[in-house]
Each structure stands twice: as C-alpha cells, then as structure tokens.
Symmetry: D2
C-alpha cells in the first residue's frame, strides 16, 4: 500500500517514518514539509540516512492525498481540519494525528481548542484510534483520529476501573511527559539549558486531553467521570508516566485481577506485577522504542484509593504506534506488523 | 560555636558540611563515619577538598557529642533514637536529621516506621524544625528534629489553604524527587544505567512522610486532613516538586493572595507568579543550591480545585537548610547566616 | 537454529536477547545466570516481559553449550577462557563477547589483562568478529570473538586512513562512553547520584582495547601505529563517540572520499557529510538502538591533521550487533537479519 | 563600588549577577538588555527573584558606563569593540567578557574572528584576566579581558608542563563542554530534544580559543606550542573537561610534583590526586557552582606522554569567577571575596 505523510518534519512524523520504513506492506511515496521542502529527510531525521532516501516535498496536502492510498496528517491542531473535507471527497484513507477529529461533540472544540468545528458530520466518520476499544469500528472505517499521548496513558490506566463503584466521580491524574511531546520548535523554554534537569508543571489545569479522556471513559463505562489532570514536563525526551488516584475500596489482588481481565487478549498492553524487579511499577524507561503500554495498580489501605499507573513511549503507543496499529487493522494487515521492535533498554 | 556531625559520609551530611564550612559562627570540630573512618572528608565529598581538611573519626556518637556544643545526627531512621537519650543527659544541643523525633504521637512510629518508640517524653522535647511555623519554640529549645524533604515541600504548599473550607478532607500529593533523597547506597536500583531517564513511582502509597505532614497541617489549621501521596523518582539528583490537589472553589487571585499573606514575612519562601517566564510555576531547577522554597497556586475553573505547587532543593530547604536555619534561631545567630548562597542556575 | 546464552543477566546479554528474540532464524533455548538462576528474564531485562518468557538457568556453560547449535558467551574477561576449551571439544559454535580470544599474540594477555593465556592454538581458531574486515574468515569459521566497544568505533574511524603516509605513527583517540559499557554492577562509582552529570576520565592511559586496535590496524594497513587513547565516561547510558587525531596533510574532500571508498559496500557503515544538519558530525544519539557505525572526517588547515570521528551504540555495533552480524555470516543467513531496527531517535 | 552590566540577559551575565549580589563591596546599579528592557531580571534569571529586584534597562552601553565605577561587558564577540573606545575615554573601569581584547596581535582577529581589529593600542591596555599568571598587571590596570572558557581549562592544564622538553610542539586537546557555553539562543540545535543525550563534536578543528591558548603558553614558557583542539558538547549544562596529550617522557610522581609546585600558592587551583575516590581525576561535577579549577596529570608508560586533565565550571572559573577575581585584585578587595561558595555537589 502506498502512503503519504503531510507535515513530515515533526517528531511524530519522524516516528511514523522510521516505523513505516520497515513495515513490509507499506511503500512511503511522498513526505511533505513546508519548512523543509527540497531537503533530504535525513537532514531533520538523521537516523533515516541510508534507510529512506527521500526528500521533503512541498506538495499541497490534498494533491498529496490524491496520489496515495492512505495519508497520515501530522499537522498542528486546527490545521488538519482545513484539508480533511477535501481529502474526504477524494476517498483516500486518512489517519489524522491531530486532535481535530477526536471529539464527538463539536461544542467541545470551542471550549477546549478555541475554534469552531464546522464539520460535525465528519466527526462521526472518524474512529478514535485506540485499537483496544475500537477494533471493530477501525476495521470498518477509512478514517482514524489518533488519540493524544497523555490521553492514551490515562485512558489505559483508568478505563479498567471506571465501571466500578467509585467513591466520587473525580479521578486525579498526574502526568509526567518527555520533551518530544512538545515538538521540535525553538521557543526559549525549549532551549536545552532552560529545560535540562527541570521538572515543571506546564499545564497544571485545563489540559486539552481532558475531554477526550472523559469521552472515552464514558464510552467504556457509561459514566461521567471528571478528570483532574496536571501535566508536567520532566527531564527526558521520550515517554509518559501517568499516576491516577481512583477513590474506591479495592484491595490489591482484586485490582490487579481487574486489570488483567480487562486486557487479557491485548498484545500491546502489559501488566507489571513483579515487585522484586527494579522496575516493579510501570516506567517509560522499559517501553522506549516499543508499542507497549505498561500498566499496574496499587491499593492503599490508609486512604481508600487505588493508584493506577501507566507508562508508554509517547511517540509510539501515544502516537505513531497506535496510528500504525490502526492502519494495520483498517487494511487487514497483521495487527502487529511493523510494531514488534526490540526496546532500547537501558537508554 | 563548635559542632560535630555524626554519620558524616551521607549526602545530607555532605550538604551540612559544605554550608557550615562557610558559616561565620561555626567551627566544625568532629565528623564521624563508621564506614569511612580515617579517610579524608574529600574522599566522599570531593567538593570539600582544600575547604575542610578533616578526616572522618570513628568516635562513638555520645563521646562525640560530649566534645561539642551542638551535634547534628545524620543517621538512618531508627538509629538516632539509640543515641539521643544519652546525649540528652550530657546537655549538648541536638539537631536530628532523621525521623526519630518528628512525630508527637509515639504510636505512629509503630504504624509507619515499624518500631516501638520508647521515649515519648523526649518526643516532647524536640521541636519540628520548620522555622516558618515553629520559630519561637526553636528559639527556646535545644532539640530540633528536621522535617522530611517531601514533607517540607508538601507542608509549605498545603498549609496556607488548610484552614479554608475544603470540599473534602483529602489532599492528593504527587511528589517528584531527585536521587540524592535516597542516598549514596549501592543497591542495583541506584545503578546509573538503571535509573537514568527513569520516571518511577517508588512509594505510590503509604509514604512515611504522611503522618508528619498530617501532624503539621493539624497544628496549623486544627483540621484532620488526609494526605494521599504518591512519591516518584525522576531523572535528576537534587530537587523535589510537589503538586497538590486541594478541592475548593477559590479563584486564582484569591488563592495567590492567600499564599502571599500567609508567608509575607518569610525570607526563604518565594511566591512564583510571573506567568511570562519560562519558569512560570515552581521548578526545583531555580532553587538548586539555595534555601528557598518556591511556591505557587493555580485555580481550575473546570473542576473546583486549586493546584498548589512547591519546589525545593531536597538537600537544603528539605534538610540541611532548615537544619542550619533552626540552628541559627536556636543560637540567636542571624537567621540567614550561611544560607544566602548564589544558586547554581542553570544547571 | 537453537542458541544459548551464558551470563545472561548483563547488559550485553540483554541486548543479544532482545535482538535475537525477533530474529527469524533463531530459537533462544537456554539462558544461564549464576546470580539470577530461577528468575524470569524480565526481572532484570524488563523490556522482555511478554516477549521472551524464559527463566534463567543455572546450567554449567559446557552443559548448556552441548544442547544448542551456537553459544554466546557473555562472561567477564578471563572467564570465557575457562570454558572455551571444553566447548571446543563438543563442537558447538561459539561467539565470545569477552576479550579472551581477541588478541592473536598470547603475550599481550599478560601485559594488558594480567593473565597467562594458555591456549595459543585456540586463539588461532577465533576470528575477530568485525564483519567489514573479516567477512570471509567468519563465513568459514565456527568461532568468533566479538570486538570491544571502544575498539570498534576506533578501528572503524582510523583504519581507512592507516595505509596513508602519516606524519607520525601515533594516533590520539579520545573516547566518550555511556554507562552501559561498565555493566550493571553496584560499586559506589556507579551510583546514579555520583555519576549523573559527570564527565570523567576513567582510563586516561593504558586502556585494554589498545592492543586489539593496534592489531587490527596492522592487519589492515601492515603498519605499526600506536594508539594513545583516553577513555571517558559521559552522562548517558548508551553510545560511544571516538575522536581521533591523525597527523597527515589531507584536505577534507580527499579525506571524505577516502572514507567513502573504503566502506563503499558496507551496509552498516554510514558516512555523515550533511554539514547543515543539527547532526553534522557523528553523534551516538542518531544510532541508538541500531547496528550502524556513523563516521565522518574533518581536515584542519591550521595544524596538519585530520580529525576522524565515529559514533556507535556501544551495545549494538559495539557488541551484540557485530555478534549477530557475525552469526548471520557464519550461518549463511541474510547478513542483515535481525539488524534492521528503527532507531529510537530522539531519545 | 558601583557596577553596571551590559548585555545582562545572557547566562554569563546571570552568573555575574548572582555572584555580585552577595559580594560585600559591590552595588549593582544598572543592568542593561536590549531584548528584555523593562522586564524584571527574574524573568530570565529566575533564581534572582527576591534577591535582586531590578529591571533591565535599555540604556546605551556608554551612558551606562558613565554612571558606574566599573562596567562588565557581556556582549557577543565583535560587539564590545564598538563601545570600548568610547568607554575608555570616560575612564570607567572595564571588564570585558568577550574575546575582543584577549589577543595581543591584532592580525589574529582577522584570521580567527573574521573582523579587522582597529584598536591595537587598546589591545595593549587590556590585561588577560587570568589571575594566576597576570596578578600584578591586573593590580595595576583598569581594563581586563576575561579568558575564554575552554581556553581557561586548557591553559591551566598545559601551562605547567609547557617549559619542559616536549617531544614535539603539538599538544592535542579534547574539550567537553556543557550547553551553557553556547548561550540561551533558540536555534534548533539547542532544542532540548535535539541535544539531550547527545555527544557531538561542534568545533572539531579551528576553535577560536586556539590563539589565546597559544599566546598564553608562549607568555608563560616562551615557546611556540601548537594546540590541536577538538571541542565537543556533552549532555550537561555547566562544566568543561579538557584532556590534553603532551608528548614527553615524565613519570607520574614528577608530573604531579610539577603541577603542585607550579600552583603552590593558588587558592582556586586544586590538585586532584586521591586515586581511591570516585572522583579520582578532575570532573566538572565536583566544581559546579565554585571558582575552582581542578587539575591532575597521568603518565603513560606505554606511549611516552602525559595526560593533563582540567575541570572547571565554565560559567565561573571559565568566565564570571575569573572576572570577579580580577575585579577584586584590580580594586584591592580581598581576592576571594564573593568567590567562596558551597558547591552544588552532587547535582
């Protein structure tokens, strides 16, 4: 199958490229970038040298889409929406990495993203690209909207408990995120000297992934659970850890069992339970370079709560990995094709 | 004044030593260490080379205490308690860095530390060494128990709001801690290759600083507030960030004003409110090497909560800094002596 | 083909395991470890969870070797030599990760490794496992000794220029090495707090890789060139950078051309020459997780020298990657099988 | 004494500010910055909050200089030179942090910096601000040009051996430099995701500090020694390590003795010789936040060379520290005033 990538110079596009380059059913035909048109991919993705000897095209997204079977849109939020309606007319399959088609309720775009979403009908065409919960829909769709990175780790961690009898309807989530999540831009807060060794809240309240998490929790459990998230950047490039407080009286064996049952057939979800390992709870360090989400849960006897922890590589299970897994399902490839990669442990 | 340090090879002792070395009212007379007796201090604290040319003594803690005016005990939890009763008899002033004399209720030692505390009368002699809340007691005491590092950041962040009308009596606290908090030991989880780039929950529930936080919040506000803490290690050596969710309907100007009023005369507490800086919320990066606690608070309009954030250098405001500030108060030195140090920013 | 790994708990063994687990011609049959016998592999190699659900065996190396077609010995220097003679009798193929069979001259073991090598005949059976220079020998051998990590980067960088007319017979090499090169041990110098942010010379003179570098340079160029190396540890887990000064009057186009010609058919050697990229010279960051050696050379007009720079992932092209590439050649598999892995860039 | 700082928003200016803020003989009167005029210092130097509550002025450098006793020029290379002639006319003392007045031979500016230096007479007025070698000149001067950071570490390491009988006249120097050396700018190579975990040659040949090193070595030894330097950036913010190969037949006790004698009365030069410490050779980690240069030397019996290693905090002994030490000497303050600061070890 021939694919194209729009917005090919960003980190998420880079991750798509390096994984697709080794995918046996895929030919990467065109990769566009406004700012890097004409340059070799390896100028900005140096690992691709001698692996993918293409140059960035300046082709318009719609023209690009007309020449391939499937297009990945790796564009900023609020930009995909400018091209999707026209691409939809052409019939090319779309996997959108932005938030523009994640939320089912168009009003939420005004509230959380600050723009008016004028394509509510298209919102219905897109499936939320989380294979574990939408596999059948993806199989029968041509349009996938890939979940946000923090959203992914949070949904994986909280969903298994959401249908239980919680003490209140608020789950607190503390997210710790690597720098790749905020892109390759050059504002001064991204300067290495400013960010190295830093642990900062960057969005302590009102993070944009909140509504998609609440939407999916509702989809899974039928319940209106509110997510009180605080997002922090930590001193690493790749990876997300989410620590969620769920107020419920549930002992640890029952909680672990609930988690195990919930994901029992899911190849890319792992339950961490070896408490004698140095890595006795999930840690992004152990999933770097892979499509795994590592999960565990701890029960607190002092305060009636469970702490549900999730770790992913933000660029893979939090972006390019779910995109490719969704692509595989949509196109009836082996669901794991291109996703079984040795981890870079330790790194 | 002549001081001695028992347990001088650990990181906290190192921090005491390098700060006391430049303190104009102090002479460091004896520094003991069982494992490094006979070695120069600079063997394990290499920055002290040519600054403090002493060797570690193997002197017994009580003997050591008998030769100085004030002794710092930098021993593991459950060890100080073996020496304090005898030192008390001698009359030497004591600043204990461990948890052995922090809690007023002896029963809590059984529950949280797993040992029976047989000196409830001595517990009453010790003042909790947080100058901002116990200045007068410290001034009139000879015995100070220095607060735990996570406890310090949490108490500073939560106390100013604890007397308000909270929606529930549980505050969730997510702590992110540098490696120096867990010492210079050599178990495999401390190996650089295992820990670098890692973000791990190491104590997701039932952290031992919980009861001292609750004790102090009760002391300040009169209320029984429960602390639901999860402690994580992050990829840095120094520093703690705590992010606390307090469920209350309070807008941001009122919250900031509450914080400012609460600490208005405190030299070592800073309120972070410049939202245009790269460091618009507290970040340990900006306090490394100093005795400051940087605080701020953000109000969430979506979920009725405030997020109160604190950042300290765990080895200074979370340990040696409060110890020296307490020593200054106790001995009627200038409270800031030895504590006004240029930060190591950026580092 | 069935393989076994002796000494399976170290980092290099871990890297072999995670790469072999996805190798289509290999079945991993037994993995032994004295210190972790009975434990799951994922206890120490957490990324292998759900990928390779074996337990460490305590089987004797010779017994283990008798049950497989090929054995990887991932043992400390001076230990492999105790088992190789007996395994040789059995006829199992051997890939030795240690230095015990790298040097052709047995006397060098006394000088550089401090032990007497009593099997000079076996030294002749082993091929130095650098596919680029020994491909035909490997094809016809059953015994491979895998090059040292710093040696690999240095040989790749220096060899292409060694036959030219150098101004003197000394090449200075400055090596910068990640922590994984020194293993998962627990002496205090490996403690995270001691090593983070550190840049240390750890072997400024007389590094043990010196004689194997000189041996191979001699093999390639026929010349006795002396290597004046200083090895440093830097603040990262994976990767090696070597910077070599070669005193010769050679302009940059000629030097780059020399490098390109020398490696023109080598799939895993890349020449870095895009001077407009952020990665305009080799950097381990761009090869992490891959089997590539990235090379470049710069000519100095001020002092008549060229600076030849090499970057590898020390655990892959510096160890497990060359081991597997050698295994592929020896067994007539596709030489690249198991070695085409997406990089973990950026990480 | 009243001082002003021109170019106050950079990292070196920040370091001057935080050290001068605690200097008992200094009042910081004006700090200018074009790009941050009107903003509080703490916007870009967050550690200065509540310590130095000034705002950046947009005052012209010459006007600024006219209102203070001494001005620090923290401007890019090639910019100081535009203001120094006019400030010279006013008579204000000048400490210039740039390279514009470091070299005695004006022709070298054309060759190494690409501009024509039109003030050879002013070059003679400036003293090279390395107190260890120019103390008397500084005492009698009003104009100091502060050495470059890599130059400082190299000169300190190489000078003590430069008058000996070297085997050739070339010393190779490998420099490893933290990010703060390249400033707070925002080009994409400084993006955290691009630079974290990276070890890069950034100036493998023809580094601009070469001529000032050669000039000072000549000044000290009378010999024309050529410096073959390669500069690398490593994964840290602060610190420089230089490793220099000097080809001479000198055993280690003699080499250490040579070093000790050479610096015997220098308070801020430390000789590292405790080979049992984790820090048995110089490491910037042990000098972070201080004005020390840590030096050591190792003799190689295999190749007749010594390896001379130097470690400094690039922002202090490599910039602001030597500036302040020079200021103290020039103004007959205690030479150590403001420079005795507890290190931030470990960090």
């Amino acid at each position: 199958m021939q694919v194209g990538i729009v917005g090919g110079s960003g980190y998420i596009a880079g991750q798509l490229l390096r994984m697709l380059a080794f995918h046996k059913d895929i030919e990467i035909k065109i990769v566009s970038s406004k700012s890097h048109a004409g340059e070799k991919l390896s100028r900005v993705h140096p690992d691709l040298l001698n692996i993918l000897d293409l140059r960035f095209s300046d082709m318009n997204p719609v023209d690009l889409a007309s020449r391939v079977d499937l297009v990945f849109l790796a564009l900023p939020h609020g930009t995909s929406i400018n091209y999707v309606p026209d691409i939809y007319e052409i019939g090319t399959k779309i996997i959108d990495m932005s938030a523009d088609f994640r939320l089912k309720d168009p009003d939420l775009y005004r509230e959380w993203y600050g723009f008016e979403h004028n394509y509510p009908d298209l919102l219905e065409k897109f499936v939320y690209g989380m294979p574990e919960f939408h596999r059948n829909e993806i199989k029968n769709s041509r349009y996938v909207s890939v979940p946000g990175c923090i959203a992914s780790s949070t949904i994986y961690s909280v969903a298994p408990f959401s249908m239980l009898n919680l003490d209140n309807n608020i789950v607190t989530v503390d997210a710790k995120v690597g720098s790749s999540g905020s892109g390759s831009g050059t504002d001064s807060s991204k300067n290495y000297s400013e960010r190295y060794n830093s642990v900062r809240a960057y969005k302590p309240v009102h993070h944009r992934h909140t509504p998609e998490i609440e939407q999916e929790i509702k989809y899974i459990s039928g319940k209106n659970i509110k997510i009180a998230m605080s997002a922090h950047s930590v001193n690493m490039v790749r990876g997300i850890l989410t620590t969620s407080n769920i107020f419920i009286d549930l002992d640890e064996p029952d909680a672990l069992s609930q988690l195990r049952e919930f994901y029992k057939n899911e190849k890319f979800i792992r339950l961490i339970f070896d408490r004698k390992s140095n890595f006795r709870y999930p840690d992004p360090k152990t999933v770097i370079g892979t499509n795994f989400a590592d999960l565990s849960v701890i029960s607190d006897g002092y305060i009636k709560r469970i702490v549900s922890i999730g770790a992913i590589d933000n660029m893979i299970k939090g972006a390019a990995g779910n995109a490719i897994q969704s692509m595989n399902i949509m196109n009836h490839f082996d669901e794991s094709e291109g996703l079984l990669i040795p981890a870079a442990f330790p790194v």
